[in-house]
């Protein structure tokens, strides 16, 4: 009986509330907020003494004026981002090579002789050392140095307060394509790692715009794809111009691809907001925080621990199984042919239409877990399918050559042309996100549908773009 009474009382409270809501009307929330702020202002007035005179010279205001000015805003932004990328690319070269030589030239032979001395069977040695170990070694040597440079630099900019200004400047563009200004922030994060960029989309309030930001994040060229872009640009595009221009032209080619990525992200955002994710660009409110001098040592530490190691660890976990698969497809044979060769021969005609080749397609399928192993996989597969002797480490063993010239030799021997190079660069920009990113997309959207869209939309665009580039290229070449 008591319980019944209680339930009745409780329902009475709720129905009173409902009736009062009709009474108070729609303005309730407004009135409440007004009350809170008027209370707050009364309290603040009693205890806060503001400076009698406004500051006349304020470096922060001046800096803001410069960073957001009509003529300097964008050039400064491109300059800063350009310097960050340049430092990342340049600075990562030497340590990358050192780590690679340590893992490949020092540790790898030791492991090999160790396994020989304990008498590991051929397949176990292959799967573990030539497959799993090498994949891990590649991921670390290719990913760690650029990330250890890029993330701290990016974090310094973030701590200083520059990123919200970028977002503020870019909002005009994003508004026009029906997206959120903060998408600029998440896109910039994507240049480091798409998975990190997708997690960062949480700062976007509106679900529609958040989804757009997630789907288009893959168009930011991530760290795992930079090495591919740089290597291919140097080999094929640098080689197409006089030697003294080679460096600058190949660098410009990479920047061009990155900018193309931004253009695609804007185009796709526009397309989405006009079709499946229809709607007007909703509200955008962004606080521009005051500039704060970054604390460099702490930033280095936290960004290394927080982002670099985190992202690296994840990549390693995904790369190890991929390494095993690479070794297996290079060594398991059906009717005398390795699985890799069978697939390459079978997919070559289709790949030809796209201006690519079967090796590239297979490499991208195997490298879904981690983009950074694309280049070593391509080299391994090319050597294997050509049966070149005297180069490489053996069937199904990933390797990267010490000199770019040697890499070029192999690729040219594999039938690569300038067109293959260009299309590989385009395809590297426009293909499915890596498995970590796909998983992150699923975690953020909790929707299979949108995960599939984000996965297959770029690959579809990649096929369309490379197809047209290849055919038009050949058409012009045939004239």
């Amino acid at each position: 009986m008591v319980a019944k009474e209680k339930i009745k009382n409780r329902e009475a409270i709720l129905s009173t509330a409902n009736n009062q809501r009709w009474e108070v009307g729609e303005n309730f929330h407004d009135t409440l907020m007004e009350s809170i702020y008027s209370n707050a202002s009364a309290i603040a007035k009693r205890s806060v003494t503001l400076p009698a005179q406004k500051e006349t010279i304020n470096w922060e205001k001046t800096l803001d004026k410069i960073l957001t000015s009509r003529y300097l805003g964008f050039p400064i932004m491109f300059l800063i981002l350009g310097v960050v990328f340049w430092l990342t690319i340049e600075g990562a070269n030497v340590p990358s090579a050192m780590i690679a030589s340590f893992f490949l030239d020092t540790i790898h032979p030791i492991l090999k002789s160790l396994s020989a001395s304990i008498g590991l069977p051929f397949w176990a040695d292959g799967v573990l050392i030539d497959g799993a170990y090498l994949a891990m070694a590649w991921v670390i040597s290719v990913m760690l140095p650029p990330m250890a440079i890029f993330f701290p630099l990016f974090t310094l900019l973030e701590d200083f307060g520059y990123l919200p200004r970028v977002s503020f400047n870019m909002d005009g563009l994003y508004r026009k394509v029906g997206a959120h200004g903060k998408q600029a922030l998440t896109m910039a994060m994507g240049f480091g790692c798409n998975a990190a960029g997708i997690v960062a989309t949480r700062v976007i309030d509106s679900p529609r715009e958040k989804l757009i930001a997630i789907i288009t994040n893959n168009f930011s060229l991530c760290n795992g794809r930079w090495p591919t872009q740089i290597l291919i640009a140097v080999i094929f595009i640098g080689a197409a111009v006089p030697a003294y221009l080679a460096g600058i032209v190949s660098a410009l080619a990479v920047v061009f691809i990155a900018v193309l990525g931004i253009v695609f992200s804007l185009l796709v955002s526009w397309g989405l907001s006009k079709s499946v994710l229809k709607g007007e660009a909703s509200a955008f409110s962004l606080e521009l925080p005051p500039y704060r001098p970054p604390r460099i040592l702490q930033t280095l530490y936290t960004s290394l621990i927080d982002r670099t190691i985190f992202v690296l660890w994840r990549a390693i976990i995904f790369a190890i199984p991929a390494g095993v698969v690479i070794w297996l497809v290079g060594n398991i044979t059906i009717g005398g042919e390795t699985i890799a060769n069978i697939f390459i021969d079978w997919s070559n005609p289709f790949a030809f239409i796209l201006g690519l080749n079967g090796v590239i397609l297979l490499a991208y399928i195997i490298a879904i877990p981690a983009n950074e192993i694309v280049i070593p996989t391509i080299l391994m597969l090319t050597v294997m399918s050509l049966g070149l002797s005297g180069v490489g480490e053996g069937a199904g063993v990933m390797f990267e050559l010490d000199s770019i010239a040697a890499t070029e030799e192999i690729l040219v021997a594999g039938g690569w042309t300038l067109l293959t190079g260009i299309n590989l660069m385009l395809f590297s920009l426009l293909h499915n996100p890596c498995s970590t990113t796909i998983y992150t997309i699923f975690k953020e959207t909790k929707s299979v549908k949108w995960t599939l869209v984000s996965t297959f939309l770029p690959i579809l665009m990649g096929i369309i773009v490379t197809f047209f580039v290849a055919q038009i290229w050949r058409l012009i070449a045939s004239i």
């Binding site: 409270i13 509330a17 603040a44 806060v48 701590d159 990123l163 702490q298």
Partner: protein, 257 residues
Amino acid sequence: MHNAGNLKRLGIDMSNFDFVVALAGNPNTGKSTVFNNLTGLKQHTGNWPGKTVTRAEGGFEYNDNKFKLVDLPGTYSLLSTSTDEEVARNFILFGQPDVTVIVADATRLERNLNLVLQILEITDRAILCLNLMDEAGRHNIKIDERMLSKDLGIPVIPSVARYNKGMDELLASIYEVVSGKYVCKPYRLKSKSKELNVAVEKLTRQITEEFPNLPNAQWVALRLLEGDQSIIDAIRNGELGKIYSVEQNKTELETVV
């Protein structure tokens, strides 16, 4: 005078804690820095509003008591319907922390008070940590902490978390509140709108009748007028009464959180 020697940073070790401390505040006020100072953890702190989107937890030991520190997402308010605000609000309400430390930006006190006043409606055990005092000084902003403390009815601790200043005083104050040496008398909102006051009073009376132990009946009334489903549910299933009549029951707390 307490000194930092009493503080033992426990990082992510939060076993057998005696008290729960919630850390709330506007975005970009240095909340995460305070969190890192107390726990010894290195959570990333970016100069970018909305960095912390999930709840982070850490532990520290002070005066032989173990504390669990929960860093709530930074929000401007607790009245909107976004997820981060819901996380923060539900923890302060249902998680019943022993004390809620509100980190505020001393250079923009008035706008920060919006959140402070909302939190004071929910809980009666809170501390205001007035951070970025160095910035305030640089801008010639002076704040009378004692007056503020008197008006709000809670301790007010000035600090510069970036340089680890004011943390000892904050710890001492946390200890005073959780041990009951300092009894908060939180400021409660007064509205100018007659219509609103009538509705709130009517509802508050009815709620107090049903849940006499509730320390924040006015806030519950306000939430009902906003149509907040979690409060409606809490009234229907009587959870509201259960939470407040069982003071400081840790096992209870854990099942709720």
